[in-house]
Every structure is written in C-alpha cells, then in structure tokens.
C-alpha cells in the first residue's frame, strides 16, 4: 500500500520499516498484489521478517491472507497472478515471477510451508518416511536413501511422534489428524528453512492437539532461528505463537505492530472491532456480545478507499480516499483517518461494555 504515488522515497515504505534490508532480514515483501481477471484480491502488501522473528498475519475469510502466503511460495492457483517484489535473503532472484526451475530449488530448502488440512496434505499411497526423505533427497541435503531415511526417523522423533522407527514405514491413513500435521511439519523443517510459512496450521485440530502442534512449530522455528509467517483467523492463537502481527482486511494490511501493542491499544477501527467481537467474556448489560455490523463482502468486491468503511461506524467522506499508512514504530503502523484515540482502553469496542478484566 504505497502511501503516495511511486515517487515517494523507498525508505518510508508502507509498513513503516526502518532502514530496508537490515543485515538479518530474511523476507522482504514490497508492494505485493494478487489479481484475477482484473479483480484485485491483495493490494500493496509490504512487510519484512527477520531471522528468528515470528510474524502473524490475521484476517477473516476473503481478507487475502492465504493468497499472500501462497504468492510468497509461488504456489498461487491457476489464473491468479502476483505482482510486486518478494525477496528472500540468500536467494539472488525475486520470487514473484521466478520460473519453475528456480522456484523449485528454493521451495522446501529456503522456504517451507505447512498447510491447513492435514487429512489431505500427504500422499495416501506413499509411506510417510519416503515423503519426508523426498524433500531431503530432492535438495541433496542427504546423499542417499539410507541416510535420508535415518534423518526422517530423527525428524519424526523431533516432532514428537510415538515410535518413529515404526512410523517411518506406516501410511498416512494410519495416523490421526494431529500426527499427520506433525509429519507435514517434519517435512517443512527437514532442510532447516530460512522462512517457515504456516497457513492456519492448527485450525482443523482439537484444542489439546493444537497446543502440542503450536508448541512444536514455535520450538522448531526458534531452534533453527528461522523466520516465520503465521496465518490464522484466531486472535488467541496468533497472540500465543507470534511476536508481531499484521491485520489484513479486504486484501490490504490495515494495521501492524507488536502483539502486545496491537491487541491492547488497537488503532484501526477494524482491529478494535475484531478484538471486541472475539472477546466472548465482554458482554453488554443484556449479555450480548460486541459485533461488527454487516458481513464481509466477497473477495475483490470491497469498497474503494478504506476497505472497511462500509462497516465502520466512524466512516466519513474522507474515508472514500485511500487512508495513508501512519507508521508508529520500526515495524508498526495503521491506515485509518479516524483511528482509535491513543489512550483507548483495551476491549472498549462498544461504549456500553464494562471492563472485562477476567483472567
């Protein structure tokens, strides 16, 4: 989301990055867009992730968060096109329009991904061990099949699977959802990727299983000092797993910053509404929850200017033009003409709400 027409100096880039390309920057995304047949699904997304930094990307359905992840991996479905620039440390070329030959060298080696649905993510007719060994053999991080297999057993142990020696010869249908997601994680972490992209990795899992997988993801990334881009719609999960968060709505980043900052002193109206709506403990006098009026428009059909204005109680004519990005720190800022007052207290989305405060 370029604040002003392109002439603006790169320094004041949209996501309020400090000096660009700091030494330990792993992923640098500039002006990323995704279009299909003329309709814009993702627009002007800018952010950088440092080594070892865990960044969350939160948004509802149709916000474009999954498309952002997929365009970083270069795995957009047929008919969708990515624009802008995605650079990865240690990789000479830009990832957006790279050809298959170059991208296949990067995927699974520099960047790895964990998907949402574990039940269909693995090849049902191939042993789990071979599917893990494959990512090692394809990138020649292991010389031959025997050592790749041994590494697979070790990886299975790392992700906490019971009896990894037997598991390596089992088929996907012999594992539960949670166990399969751990196999996918093992595959992703196999080559110690510089960047791990997780697209709603625990949405399909039960609470207890989710806790274990989240723990594995965070530890896996920390052990390898890998950067992580974590996509989810669940505020609590992102707050638990990530240090910094970007809020997306209508294909644009409307606010970003440290988790503590964004979730206690939200500035963008949408972020505030989202926090209010997701807090099931804050109820008005009649016991009703705070809500955001209206419903999410279909992908690509958001209003011009500020994409949230058709549901924002504070929208004015000014919101018809695109709000500028107001940087509030090295990696944080928001894009709203009528932001929540600096001193706004957490969870006061609807005036009638009393302080929730429950532990």
């Amino acid at each position: 989301m370029t604040p002003a027409p392109d002439t603006a100096p790169a320094t004041a880039s949209a996501s309020g990055q400090g000096s660009p390309d700091r030494p330990d920057d792993v992923l640098t995304v500039r002006n990323l867009g995704v279009t299909v047949g003329g309709r814009k699904l993702v627009e002007d997304v800018d952010f950088t992730i440092r080594a070892g930094e865990r960044v969350g990307l939160i948004g509802e359905s149709g916000s474009g968060k999954s498309l952002t992840a997929l365009s970083v991996m270069g795995l957009l479905p047929d008919g969708l096109r990515a624009t802008g620039s995605v650079r990865l440390a240690g990789v000479g070329h830009d990832l957006v329009d790279a050809d298959e030959a170059r991208m296949s060298r990067v995927r699974g080696k520099e960047i790895a991904m964990v998907f949402q649905e574990p039940m269909t993510a693995l090849n049902p007719t191939m042993k789990v061990g071979r599917q893990i060994a494959e990512v090692l053999l394809v990138h020649r991080t292991r010389p031959d099949r025997a050592s790749a297999r041994a590494a697979a057993v070790d990886l299975l142990a790392q992700v906490g699977l019971p009896d990894p020696a037997a598991a390596v010869d089992a088929y996907p249908h012999q594992f539960s959802g949670g166990q399969r997601q751990r196999v996918v994680l093992a595959i992703a972490l196999a080559n110690d990727p510089a960047l791990l992209v997780c697209d709603e990795p625990t949405t399909a899992l039960d609470v207890t299983v989710q806790a274990r997988v989240l723990d594995l993801i965070v530890r896996g990334v920390q052990d390898r000092r890998s950067a992580m881009l974590f996509i989810t719609h669940d505020l609590a999960v992102v707050a638990t797993a990530c240090e910094r968060v970007m809020v997306m709505y209508g294909g644009r980043v409307v606010e970003s910053g440290p988790v503590q900052e964004v979730f206690t002193r939200p500035r963008h109206r949408y972020t505030r509404g989202l926090i209010g709506a997701s807090d099931l403990t804050a109820v008005d006098d009649r016991g009703r929850l705070a809500t955001i009026p209206g419903s999410v428009p279909p992908a690509g059909r958001f209003p011009a200017g500020c994409v949230f204005r058709n549901r924002c109680a504070h929208a004015t004519e000014a919101c018809a033009t695109r709000p500028d990005w107001v940087p509030t720190g090295p990696d944080s800022g928001y894009a709203c003409f009528h932001p929540v007052a600096e001193s706004g207290v957490r969870g006061t989305a609807v005036p009638t709400n009393q302080e929730a405060g429950r532990g």
């Binding site: 296949s104 998907f115 269909t120 249908h173 012999q174």
Partner: protein, 316 residues
C-alpha cells in the same frame, strides 16, 4: 487384506453361478427348436426326436443345466448340435484369436492414451491441450468399423502394403499373422485409445487438484516431477477401472472389427451360432464372456489393493 480378498473371491463365485443360471434360462426361452434347425425343416419328426434325445434336450431343465455346468468346469463343453464337433477346441482357438486382437488393440490404446491423456490434463488451459482434446473427441466419435473400412481402402486395396483381411494362426505363418494383425489392431486401438485418453485426462485433472500435489510442489518438486512421483499412481485407480470395462466390452465388441477384417474371433462365433441356433455354443460363448468380465473385475479389485494401501486394512 486377506479378508478383503476372500470376500472378493466369494462374490466372484456367486456371480459366476448366478450368471450361468441367467444364461441358461435365457437360452431356454430362445424360440426355434435347435434340433429342428440342425436337421433342416423337412426332417421327419422321428429324426428330430432322435437328435433331441442324443443331445439330451428331452431331459428336465435342471439335469440339462447341471450337465452343462459340469461340462464347463471340466473343460469339456460338449459337442455342437450343428457341427457335431467338439466345442472345446473351437472355443479355445476363437478365444485365443480374440485375445490377440483385443490384447494388442488395448496395448496400442494405452501407448496412445497415457501420454496424450497426461499431456491434455497438464496443458489443460493452453491451446495445445484444447487441440488434443478436440482430436480425442473426434477419435471417440468415429465408429470403429468405419475406421477399419477406411484403413483397408487406403493401406490394403489402395497401397497394397497389407492384406485386406484374413487370419492365420501365428504358429502357421508368423509374418503373415503379424501383417494381418496390423490394420485391425490399428482401427481397434485408435478408437479405444481416444476413449481411454478422455478418462486419463479427467483422472489426471482430478489428481492435479489434490492437496498432496501442492505439498509435493512445496517440497521443491517441479510440476511434471510431482505429477509423476505422486499423481500418476493415484490416478491409476480410476483408469484401471475404465481399462477393465473396455477390455470386458471388447471381448464381444470386437466382433465388428472381426467382421470387417474376416477374423474368426469369439464375437463372430457368437454371431454365427446365434443365427444357426447352435444353442450349446451360444451358451458357452456367453458364459466365457461373463466369466472373463467377472475375472477382469476381480483382477481390478486386487490391483486396487496393490495401489491403495488404505484398502489393506490395519488402521492406526
């Protein structure tokens, strides 16, 4: 795994018995007394009765059915009313002819269809994919015998490269046997190939949409490599089903090609015996075809077991 196999075998046996009863009942309904047709219409009543007795046609149904089944099981399917000759060897020859024709035809179909089908699926949006798709649609639309007639007119009568028709057992004259096989196999193979291509295309398209293909791409496999290592094995299941179906229908379906190229196959034997009311032969041919179809289905099921581990039981 064994349980599934035992169940499948049981289903196979029951189906065989039931289809044999069906076939026998159908034959009994067929009008036209076989003995009378065999002897010609002006034969005397006594002669007809004597022949009926000789063929056991006067015995009660169940007895006739049992002796027929006994004959089938012990590979001695009795003698034909019309030709008074042993049916067994005749069936064996005809079956061998048809298996050669259909087998080679299906092999050619696979050689054509597998690469074309995959190509059409992979280039599914691009013009080359559309052209191939149109071509295969055209291939499906041409009746097999028309293809045969055109091939004869051009290559046999026109250019004289190949014999127009006829069949020579391979042992008798291998070169002539192969020459006579080319055109029929081509016309059979091309048409069946076009049909198979369409199924392979849709099976591969389905597989390309699977999540684990995307996982393979995320691992760093290039699209074609991902398809070959992960996609094809899973796409094989629906394709194997269609192949089995085609093989089954061709056993008698090839009669059209047999008629154009004058090949004494199973289908032609069936046609001739039906017009000569040679009931015992008709019964045996229909039974062989039914057995072949059921056997093919059984083989397909076992192939499923090999391809898809989920069916092998033993869950987490």
């Amino acid at each position: 795994m064994i349980v599934r196999l035992v169940k499948r075998i049981a289903v196979l046996l029951v189906s065989l018995v039931v289809s044999s009863v069906l076939v026998f009942a159908f034959m009994a309904v067929l009008p036209g007394d076989p003995a009378r047709v065999a002897l010609g219409t002006s034969a005397s009543e006594t002669a007809v009765a004597q022949l009926r007795e000789q063929f056991g046609l006067d015995r009660p149904f169940v007895a006739q059915y049992l002796s027929w089944v006994h004959g089938l099981v012990t590979f001695d399917p009795g003698t034909s009313y019309i030709s008074h000759t042993e049916i067994g060897p005749q069936l064996a020859d005809r079956l061998q002819v048809t298996l050669w024709l259909v087998g080679a035809g299906m092999v050619l179909a696979c050689i054509l269809a597998v690469p074309m089908g995959i190509l059409m699926a992979v280039r599914h949006r691009r013009p080359s994919g559309l052209i191939l798709s149109a071509l295969s649609q055209a291939g499906v639309a041409v009746p097999a015998f028309l293809a045969g007639i055109l091939l004869i007119t051009v290559f046999a009568v026109g250019l004289g490269w190949l014999p127009a028709n006829g069949w020579t057992p391979p042992a008798q004259d291998p070169v002539l046997f192969l020459k006579q096989l080319v055109l029929p196999v081509l016309s059979l193979g091309m048409v069946q190939g076009a049909v198979l291509t369409r199924y392979i295309r849709s099976a591969v398209l389905d597989v390309l949409r699977e999540d684990y293909l995307r996982t393979a791409r995320a691992k760093g496999l290039r699209p074609m490599r991902a398809l070959v290592r992960h996609g094809l094995r899973n796409a094989a299941v629906p394709v194997v089903t269609v192949l089995a179906l085609q093989l089954a229908t061709l056993l008698v379906g090839a009669v059209v090609i047999e008629r154009v190229f004058v090949i004494p196959g199973l289908g032609s034997l069936l046609l001739d015996s039906v017009s000569n009311r040679d009931l015992i032969v008709v019964q045996d041919v229909v039974m062989i075809i039914a057995m072949a179809v059921l056997l093919v289905n059984f083989l397909v099921d076992t192939i499923y077991l090999m391809i898809d581990p989920r069916l092998r039981g033993g869950s987490s």
